[in-house]
Amino acid sequence: MRDDAAIVVQDVNRIYKVRGPKRRSDPQEVTALADVNLDVKRGELFGLLGPNGAGKTTLIKILATLLLPSSGTALVDGFDVVKEQKAIRRRISMVSGGETSGYGLLTVEENLWMFARLYGLDNKTAKERIDSMLKLMGLADRRRTKIADLSTGLRQKMNFIRGFISDPSVVFLDEPTLGLDVGAARDVRAFVEEWMDDRPDRTMVLTTHYMAEADELCDRIAIIDRGRIIACDTPENLKRSLKEETVFHLKVAPLGKRPEANEHRIEAVHGVRRVSTTEVNGHTEVTLILETEEALAGVIGHLEARGSNLLSLEKQEPSLEDVFVRMVGRSLSVDTSQRDE
């Protein structure tokens, strides 16, 4: 067992069999993870960044022993997720965004107490921890509220407390700020940072499709797309990989439908590396990654020739979003899940 590795993932694949609406039809296979390799060091706050459908949740659930890999091996705290799930379950916890867990008729306090007991905490310790964490999360005045009466934000804060109440060695957070308002999301992030700062031997894996969140919180980030890890490094290094290139953000009059065709046309302009476009309230936002700044003139010329005038233009320090665009040629906000519903 390697002491510095809290999580080791080797050649993990996961295939889902999905049945269509017709019972008879053969199940379709969806590859959610393909040859994933990762190491997370003890003490690290590790991020999995990728668009919807990238396979983040699948990887989390495999590490949390809820799902088996179709092939490959994964260790958490040195224990095998396939065979040593019992040992792993004593050491981990998991919180997902948009959770509907808990019992609506019980109060915040009661729900937390219940889960604390499932982790073997004695009554006194459970009550003390619930107390202090409710205060820390600013939920102390809601301790006797039935959780059915809580807002989404407060409920998610409660879920958060639940995830930390057992003082876990490895914590999995799957899109922890999903659906939260700005304030609640900020509180949650602050809590995460503080918890990790106070406990240098604990490890956290966090998934998100908000690049700012990953950038702000994570020591290292794996960028994942369509089941594959396409890069894994510190946020600084990932962004530095773009230093040679120049990133511009443009707002232009709507380019019309078929974004892929638009992107291809712009990419054909000399000196353009990657382009991604997103439609936002009546205009199109274009992220341009250029080999040199001079290529910008060509792009603007091309856009004007197509009758789409420039609304604004910004040169920016590269963000993780740009790193993603550079690597994948697509924006992080594009949903890539392949569910046939």
Partner: protein, 277 residues
Amino acid sequence: MYTDNRAQGLTLFWQSIWARAYPRIFGMLRERSWMFFDTFLPLLGTLSYVFVYRAIQAPEEYIGFVVVGGAMTAFWLNMLWSMASQLYWDKDMGNLELYVVSPAPLPAILLGMAIGGLVNTTMRATAIIVVCSLLFAVPYEPGSLILLLMVFIVTMTALYGMGMLFASVFLASGREAWHMANLLQEPIYLASGFFFPVRALGFWFATFASILPLTLGLDAMRQLLFADAVTLRFLPVEVELGLLVVSSVVFISTAMLALAKLEERGRREGRLIERRR
């Protein structure tokens, strides 16, 4: 964080039972109107049988049979179904995932679900016995109280095993299992001799129905409560008690194996994480 050892394992088992029973018990107590319907609606089924037996002038012992049958079945069916049905809701709400991820043993969680349900079934059973005994002169002539208690508890234990077996099927399957369980409910009522002595259906049928701990338990309870029941009995009480002990052991050990196997299968097929979509 803590380490492995037997004492801690037992503590965790014990704690998990009560933790999971808690929402069932207190959630219930907070919804008084449910409590009312839950207690008094099932009375109607038992009452209607009593009236039917009166109308057709069935032997008077049958009335006592129905009352005891109604009360015990309320208890015991709770053991049988509550785990599977709660597991179904827990899965849907996302609680099951959290239970599986936690170190709490699943058999303890399941037992907690069943025990949580005992509060309202106790009220239901009490209502049936009290109301019916007041309305009709039920000729109780209890024999050994100790045997009565033993039969009751051993039947519960066997049903816990059987209920756990059902619940484990839910872990690895989807909604279909839920519908199956609902469909099975009627035949089980019939086979267990809920409303009449099981012997009335013939020796071979009774033997077959004895796979259900409910059948033997009910037959033994009736013998212990009514002196006349001996003539209507299926097997002597001692034999029935022995068989119940055997079926407890068989059901619980099979259920433990099935639970482990089907959890594994659920993990492989992704059934633990799917929701109604």
